[in-house]
Symmetry: C2
Subunit: 310 residues, 2 copies
């Protein structure tokens, strides 16, 4: 199996209040053509249109918590999916109170969606498997914020070892053993000789992972859930000048996000959830890179391709 | 009293679904520096920022009905008003179920606004006074749509007659009578002679009015509420090619909007609430102008100044 798509598109990067430049939290993650919408701030459907994302392909929406800047775009998106003819099931992973709100809104607006919503309620009891198929696994994990909040972890399943057909011929290994070889087993060749797996296969690409942490106070206890991720999104609502404000509001600074990325041994850090008070964002990377060099900004409309670690 | 501001800024012109070009229903009306937000589709707060409207000046929000494209922007706007320091009371005129939704959202997100909301629930029992001060009156009136819906009527109070000081001197009328003259009374001059009001005053500018009708099926019974308005906004979700669809969904075509404007003797017709199916909008004015010449399009970001009728 060759490498599959693993890329993240930023739809919103602002915190509590949008600005004329920045929208509220939302990201679109594509892993092997499974599309995950992560948080859904107001106007997310407009951002999806703007960046030409085919939003009917989204079968999974994950909502970290119920502050408005993370879900006020959901009712409108659900309505537009309906109006544009959606029929396939939509999975929503969220705190349980969200269903109550959405149900009330549909009731007062006399809306009946033409597609089923399958609700999956998150909990804050450690790492919880939300979704799994043959390609990947998705988990939630607890974050410390003013209200109940979870992060999300996306992990590719291990890739099979790559068969080297030339070497299989050379060592006279039957193609009947391909599946055993892919999962790393040693096999007997046509003459009954044990052939070590590494003699006829190549190491596969390393499985990749993405950790999403928004919103959270600086909290080292979340590191256990995001150890060694290829990409870590960690909110950075403030710069160091507002470190006290970050703590008081259960948010983080860019420096704190970088410290978490470093301790978690992440390959790359993605900053975001900027306070509307900051017009220019260069200082976020400047401060973060002092601690963790591979820190980059969330920029709306940009897509980050996540590569395989060496 | 000289003429005061009376202008309408279009914030959204799309119907059920936004497009990459058009936002959902919202208008900002300024009458004598009283600011009224009329409907509040998703991303209205973003549109207000984009068009540099000072949204803390809005003390009145009117919601016609509870289809999402008319109120999904409200929770976010209320939150941003709070975050930006609002303390003065906000009046919301709406169907009563909206308060239930807003209260639930504030409860689950643990939001306490720093300013009071004064709720005024509309009803569909004819013309109902919602607001009145020394400059104007605002009414709701029933519309026929799939769910409970009202239109809104904004009316300036009559202007006082204008004093002609030259003629007052000429006819020897004391300035003590100015207030009587302004309201149209005849007065006695310094020699006890009756002076007809028109001899020393000029006709005032005519009071202006704005009627807002969205969403509605073609319905001649609404004409009674909007007779002679200076500007009529009447939804035109469809063109004639979708006349049947308009009827089935309780919406109107541009031609029907024009027919209502003509029968109501409106001075000008503003079209809007366009279905997302229409990319170009010229045909809306083409069709409407066949019936009612002074038909114009709602264009987001544009401000329509409403002049005094001759």
């Amino acid at each position: 199996m060759s490498s599959q798509t693993f890329e993240l598109t930023i739809l919103g990067s602002s915190s509590a209040s949008p600005t004329s430049e920045r929208n509220q939290s939302a990201q679109l993650l594509n892993i092997a053509e499974r599309f995950f919408l992560i948080d859904c701030g107001e106007a997310t459907q407009i951002q999806l249109r703007k960046f030409k994302a085919k939003f009917q392909k989204i079968d999974h929406i994950l909502i970290s918590h119920l502050h408005g800047d993370h879900f006020f775009g959901l009712p409108g998106l659900l309505g537009s999916m309906h109006l544009l003819g959606r029929q396939q099931e939509l999975n929503i992973y969220c705190p349980k109170e969200l269903k109550v709100i959405i149900d009330s809104i549909h009731k007062i607006s006399d809306t009946r969606l033409n597609y089923p919503i399958k609700w999956h309620f998150t909990n804050d009891d450690g790492l919880n498997l939300l979704f799994e198929d043959d390609k990947l696994e998705v988990y939630s994990f607890p974050l410390k914020h003013r209200i109940y909040c979870t992060g999300f972890l996306f992990k590719e399943k291990p890739y099979p070892r790559r068969i080297d057909k030339f070497l299989m011929d050379k060592f006279q290994v039957s193609t009947a053993f391909v599946n055993n070889l892919r999962v790393g087993k040693d096999v007997l060749n046509n003459e009954g000789v044990l052939i070590k797996n590494e003699e006829v296969t190549l190491a596969p690409p390393k499985a990749r992972s993405y950790g999403y942490c928004s919103d959270t106070i600086y909290d080292e206890s979340l590191i256990q859930y995001i150890k060694n991720v290829d990409l870590l999104y960690h909110e950075s609502t403030f710069l160091e000048d507002k470190k006290d404000r970050a703590k008081a509001t259960y948010h983080s600074t860019a420096t704190q996000a970088a410290a978490i990325a470093k301790m978690a041994n992440a390959k790359k850090l993605l900053l975001g959830h900027y306070s509307a008070r900051y017009g220019h964002l260069e200082q976020f990377t400047t401060e973060a890179q002092t601690i963790f060099e591979k820190s980059v900004l969330s920029v709306e409309g940009e897509t980050i391709k996540i590569g395989h670690a060496k």
